[in-house]
């Protein structure tokens, strides 16, 4: 809040103070209640298991430490799973943005007739529940042999397979948002460049894309968080526990390594940290992306 917006209504606001105070009490109370489950998880994660099992979980803490966090991180080799996620999410985000901006460029600049039909196909596909397509997709991935390209020799159980389905699924939403954005750019820009003899590629790469930077930034933030948070694709399409990205691996790890609730709490919270960092650093992009294409489920 800038100081001007606060200062202006202050004069008018003086008589309704009690209402405002009540509102703040309500909002602060609700916000605290909203954070309670997370705070409870943090509290549990900070306490040693020996203490909570002796005194119960709702008790005054004698000792708070990050031991559970370091144990959860080291015992389960979490770094490896964060690495897996990085290997999937970075190419998936970049490829989704590249391909969807290509489609958006084409439909918004060159072909108005297929424009609606194409966008309809992309957007509808993106709104489908993942489970609708999973049975044939799973079979397709098992039947696709890629000897030498992926470690498993198939699309199944490979990072490549996950990248492809993320790109295919998410590009619908991004194409929709980007084509709306590109259509709002003045036509004269590309027109003039074409007359000057610029190639279509230059039109896209050097003229249109730089203008789309705000939309691309918002989408990149959104996509990173969505792909990071994905649980379902990897659960079904990855069979080797070692190959799982962190969010899906959590399920296996909690049975194998996180032997008590305190460790589970620490492990789960650790997986949330990267999303929280992205969210706090790029909150504006995230929210604008979400409301930019609020049709997304």
């Amino acid at each position: 809040m800038s100081s001007t917006t606060v200062a202006a209504p202050l004069k008018k606001r003086t008589p309704v103070r009690p209402g405002r105070v009540l509102l703040h009490v309500f909002l602060a109370g609700t916000a605290l209640a909203w954070l309670a489950p997370l705070l409870w998880a943090i509290f549990s994660a900070l306490r040693p298991y020996s203490e909570t099992s002796a005194k119960g979980y709702v008790s005054w803490p004698d000792k708070l430490s990050f031991d559970n966090f370091t144990n959860a991180f080291e015992q389960s080799d979490m770094l490896h799973y964060f690495g897996n996620t990085l290997l999937i999410a970075v190419p998936a985000v970049l490829l989704t943005l590249f391909l969807s901006s290509c489609v958006a460029f084409y439909v918004s600049r060159f072909d108005f007739r297929v424009n609606l039909a194409l966008l309809l196909v992309f957007t509808a596909g993106n709104l489908l529940p993942q489970q609708v397509i999973i049975t044939p997709l799973y079979r397709l991935y098992l039947l696709t042999n890629l000897p030498g390209i992926t470690a498993s020799g198939k699309l199944y159980d490979s990072a490549l397979g996950l990248v492809l389905i993320h790109v295919a699924f998410q590009s619908g939403f991004c194409a929709f948002v980007l084509s709306n954005y590109m259509r709002s750019l003045p036509h004269e820009l590309t027109e003039a460049a074409l007359v000057d003899g610029a190639s279509v590629w230059r039109l896209y790469w050097q003229i249109t894309l730089p203008l789309c930077r705000p939309a691309m930034a918002a989408l990149a933030t959104l996509l990173s968080i969505w792909i990071y948070n994905d649980f379902f694709w990897a659960l079904v399409l990855i069979s080797t526990g070692e190959n799982m990205p962190i969010t899906s691996a959590l399920n296996n790890l909690s049975g194998q390594y996180f032997t008590d609730p305190n460790l589970v709490a620490a492990g789960a919270l650790l997986t949330a940290i990267p999303t929280l960092i992205v969210y706090f650093a790029l909150q504006r992009q995230f929210v604008s992306g979400l409301t930019l294409g609020s049709a997304k489920g």
Partner: protein, 326 residues
């Protein structure tokens, strides 16, 4: 909806309304003539490659789901695919003890989300839209659950609901043998327990959508209403809420889709044990479970597909028609 405003206003500004269509055509033809052969190939690749990938992995598989639903297949060779007509659906509707509960739970999921966290999200948005101090801080708190993965939320809420060590049972003293309240295992309770976690997340999501909607409400409407002597509730009911119609449509569609997609939370919570069966869980269990029946699993997916398309298609047609008119 912001998408609408971004498409409508600039285009309307760039192109005079009556001559919109012919001018567009001229632009296209003008572009066409200037294209070299290489340009045409570039364009074809730019439109073709992403479309091919999307159609192959999303639409071809969706159609394959429909076709496979009428067959049995062991998944080994293509020649073992046998046409069985409606057998899978017959079995699903009459013999599967989990199917109707799953449908019912998906419906309950939607009803609860639309009746409780959605209006609450709207309420929060209206309060936070009042130009009060700390509004960012409050927004961040309410929105935090939306950013965290559903899987992580499942683990966090397990810590709250755990019968032995959880927050609730520890506070109310129900964690001693004989007094157990099993929030996760008891089929009478677990759906509601997991719905509280889902609502916790949904309210923040709805709040953000409504906040964006409220920002686009013309402030003079509010002033005019205040001058007419309307109180806060009357202004909201008669002036603000009607102008939020586009947001309400988006909210409705998002909520239905969320209810159909619900999966991660339940899977982490109790793997969809008795009491929390959902259509999405049935499909998944059929794949990763012991007895994978491809045709049968596809039949469940088709039920999910039909319900989804019944919502998606009218919504998209309405959205795109509005855009074409603009």
């Amino acid at each position: 909806m912001t998408t609408d405003t971004t498409t409508k206003s600039p285009e309307a500004a760039a192109v005079p309304p009556p001559g919109a269509a012919p001018q567009k055509k001229r632009v296209t033809q003008g572009h066409r003539r200037l294209l070299t052969r290489r340009d045409r190939i570039t364009l074809a690749a730019m439109a073709g490659v992403p479309t091919l990938l999307h159609v192959a992995l999303v639409w071809v598989t969706a159609i394959a789901s429909i076709l496979l639903a009428f067959t049995t297949w062991d998944g080994i060779g293509f020649d073992s695919i046998k046409w069985v007509g409606l057998d899978n659906f017959h079995q699903l509707f009459s013999d599967n003890p989990q199917f109707w509960p799953a449908v019912q739970h998906n419906v309950i999921w939607f009803v609860v989300l639309i009746l409780i966290p959605t209006p609450f999200g709207l309420f929060l948005a209206v309060q936070l839209d009042k130009k009060i101090r700390f509004t960012r801080l409050y927004q961040t708190a309410f929105f935090l659950p939306v950013v965290i993965s559903m899987a992580c939320i499942g683990f966090v809420w397990q810590l709250v609901y755990n019968p032995d060590t959880g927050l609730i049972n520890s506070i109310i003293g129900a964690n001693k043998p004989g007094h157990y309240i099993d929030w996760i295992g008891d089929p009478k309770l677990n759906l509601w327990a997991v719905l509280i976690a889902a609502s916790w997340r949904h309210a923040g999501y709805m709040m953000i959508l409504y906040l964006a909607g409220l920002k686009s409400v013309d402030p003079s409407l509010r002033e005019a209403s205040a001058l007419d002597g309307a109180n806060e509730w009357q202004t909201f009911k008669n002036v603000i809420f009607p102008t939020l119609r586009p947001t309400n449509t988006v909210v409705l569609v998002v909520t239905i889709i969320e209810a159909l997609r619900a999966f991660d939370l339940v899977f982490v919570f109790n793997k969809g044990a008795q009491g929390t069966e959902l259509l999405s869980i049935l499909v998944t269990n059929n794949i990763i479970g012991e007895s994978s029946r491809i045709g049968y699993g596809s039949a469940i997916a088709v039920v999910l597909l039909v319900i989804s398309l019944a919502v998606i298609i009218p919504y998209l047609i309405a959205t795109f028609r509005k855009e074409r008119r603009a």
